[in-house]
């Protein structure tokens, strides 16, 4: 009989909060009320879910497009299914989660407006983090080099990027307004990974914010 090699399997999901490499994940974790029900759309390898379960004791679920990502998540004890943000959110019932999170994924969806609308139907709140295409380095790349920008957050060349729907912080605010969502909290992160002061005007965030995290509700 064959033997099973489980050496590669991480089995403990609850031991300690792993240090998160992405500053937007830390910010999201701070925004989530402990013990809530969370759906992470585009959960990747499950880092955020694991972080939220460890720090915020959430009842977490995930949807991930790549089957390899899903298999890793399930092997780590996370409740994750294979699915597509554009197609599969329709199967969830109204207001069945406290938070629906879309972290660094909205720019890769085919229909960002549709996805955001579904998120606000399924969850009491939607949390969205995304790279800001209005950032000064992006504008500079276009203005001075005449080339599509490649930055730390947008590393792929235009022809090889999963990101098909870029937006700026102002664009996102406009979309939220258009679908009748209220911005409950917003946070911009600058190029050094620091949170930018809340008092700064949108135009300042839009120029110097490299990423943004929004909490929306209907």
């Amino acid at each position: 009989m064959s033997t099973i090699d489980l050496s590669g399997t991480a089995t403990s999901a609850t031991v300690t909060a792993p240090p998160s490499a992405r500053v937007d994940l830390d910010i999201i974790a701070e925004l989530v009320i402990p013990g809530s029900r969370v759906l992470d759309v585009g959960c990747g390898d499950g880092s955020l879910l694991q972080l939220l379960e460890a720090r915020r004791q959430v009842d977490g679920r995930g949807v991930e497009l790549s089957q390899a990502g899903v298999n890793d998540c399930v092997a780590r004890g996370l409740s994750v299914i294979q699915g597509d943000a554009d197609r599969d959110l329709v199967y969830y019932s109204d207001q069945s989660f406290d938070y629906v999170i879309l972290s660094q994924t909205i720019q890769a969806t085919r229909n960002p407006r549709g996805v955001l609308t579904q998120m606000l139907r399924i969850g009491k709140r939607a949390i969205v983090s995304f790279p800001n295409f209005g950032h000064i380095a992006v504008r500079a790349a276009l203005m001075f080099r005449g080339r599509m920008p490649q930055t730390k957050n947008l590393p792929q060349p235009w022809y090889d990027s999963p990101n098909i729907h870029y937006c700026t912080i102002r664009d996102f605010v406009a979309l939220a307004q258009e679908i009748g969502a209220e911005v409950e909290t917003a946070q911009a992160i600058n190029a050094t990974g620091q949170k930018m002061a809340m008092a700064m005007p949108w135009s300042f965030w839009n120029l110097f914010g490299q990423q943004a995290v929004f909490v929306l509700r209907k």
């Binding site: 009989m1 064959s2 033997t3 099973i4 090699d5 489980l6 590669g8 399997t9 089995t11 999901a13 609850t14 009842d59 679920r61 089957q67 899903v70 298999n71 998540c73 399930v74 092997a75 780590r76 004890g77 996370l78 409740s79 994750v80 299914i81 294979q82 699915g83 599969d88 199967y91 969830y92 019932s93 069945s96």
Partner: protein, 404 residues
């Protein structure tokens, strides 16, 4: 592994030696495993509207039941399997059909969990089925046994589980027809299942699957030795029909890719065509072998009953055709597993269950394992499958407070 206490045997009933051989195995009459007997006071309510009594369930257990009886995992077997998932089958002498998955330190860890597996009602491994003797007539039931459904199998399992004093199962796990039983458990007894792992299965049997089963049944019934199901009484066996049924079914368990990889158009023990109807091709020889070994271990009438049970399976039918309604309010943690090349229960069927569970706001994980081995992959060494099972059960065990 446990030493089995032999259960009550049926040696008091005189069984014709020839008849026993005809059943393919003594196990149908005299199971060497433990047996739970249910008398006239505890009938099995069948969907067919008949109370079956007396009846019995043959089973095996592995590991130890903990003090608060919270660590039990029920394993549900597939169509032609038995209640020997983790110990050698007395019929074939082969290792348990899930032995890489169940045992000390394995994903279904018998140092942590108490594992129960019973032969289904309608089967031929020792539980009451068409090959069992009807107490009323002293003859084998044959077609006098009422038609059995997946829900009947699960109802019987529930009675067995209660015999152990277990209120809630930690998990119910099974593939194919076993997966149907898992789903039925979560719908019939939602509060009695903490975690469920339906593997390579569907919420209903598809028209194509019913079609293949019907071919199998017609092959059995067209065999003149079937004698309207009364072959035991005639001292005969419809081996040719049953072998054809198995050959057909076996093709549905594999995949075109796997067949091509294993056999291609290779010839068997020859360099050129024989210009006749012997098994020229390796695939023919392989299927003939599969057919002939199957008839030594399985009862033809049991094959009719169990395929029928699968055909009748349709969970949504009892819920206004809406599968999501079946899982409404479910607290069970689900983990569905499918295999990419399975065309008997394709991934889409698992996904349909996942969507229904999403709609019911149930807790669900879903893994599709990439493999070219077809439906059979759920019985084979698939590391992604074992990793998913291990990760899911470990996390569920922590949630249940079974380990740190």
């Amino acid at each position: 592994m446990d030493e089995f206490e032999p259960g009550r045997t049926m040696s008091a009933i005189a069984v014709d030696e020839e008849l026993t051989r005809a059943a393919g195995s003594r196990e149908a009459y005299e199971p060497s495993s433990p047996v739970a007997e249910f008398g006239a006071s505890e009938p099995l309510r069948l969907d067919a509207g008949i109370d079956l009594a007396p009846f019995r369930i043959a089973y095996n257990t592995y590991g130890e039941l903990n003090a608060d009886k919270s660590n039990a995992i029920l394993i549900c077997h597939a169509l032609t399997m038995d209640h020997y998932p983790a110990s050698p089958s007395p019929t074939t002498g082969k290792p348990g059909w899930w032995s890489p998955l169940i045992g000390e330190g394995k994903p279904i860890d018998t140092t942590k969990f108490f594992v129960i597996c019973s032969n289904v009602i309608g089967g031929c491994g020792g539980s009451t089925g068409p090959a069992s003797l009807d107490a009323a007539s002293g003859d084998p039931f044959g077609l006098n046994l009422p038609v059995i459904t997946v829900r009947d199998m699960v109802r019987a399992q529930k009675m067995l589980v209660e015999r152990f004093g277990i209120d809630t199962l930690f998990a119910v796990v099974g593939g194919s027809m076993g997966g149907m039983q898992v789903l039925e458990w979560t719908v019939s007894y939602p509060d009695k299942v903490f975690a469920a792992v339906p593997i390579a299965t569907g919420a209903r049997h598809s028209a194509q699957n019913i079609a293949f089963h019907e071919i199998g049944r017609q092959a059995v019934m067209a065999d003149p030795e079937w004698h309207g199901g009364r072959y035991f009484q005639k001292g005969k066996r419809p081996t040719k029909g049953l072998a054809v049924a198995r050959m057909t079914a076996h093709v549905t368990y594999l995949s075109e890719m796997a067949l091509h990889r294993k056999f291609g158009r290779n010839l068997q023990d020859r360099d050129t065509f024989g210009y006749g109807f012997d098994a020229d091709f390796q695939i023919e020889s392989y299927l003939r072998h599969q057919g002939s070994t199957f008839v030594d271990r399985f009862d033809a009438n049991s094959y009719l009953y169990l395929t029928r049970a699968m055909d009748y399976f349709d969970i949504a039918a009892d819920f206004q055709g809406l599968l999501a309604n079946a899982f409404q309010g479910s607290k069970t943690r689900f983990c569905l597993i499918s295999f990419s090349s399975d065309w008997l229960f394709p991934t889409a069927e698992s996904r349909e269950i996942v969507h229904a569970l999403n709609a019911a706001a149930a807790s669900v994980s879903f893994v599709e394992v990439e493999t070219d081995k077809g439906h059979d992959a759920f019985l084979l060494d698939e590391p992604d499958f074992y990793r998913a099972m291990d990760g899911f059960l470990s996390s569920a065990a922590r949630a249940r407070g079974l380990c740190e």
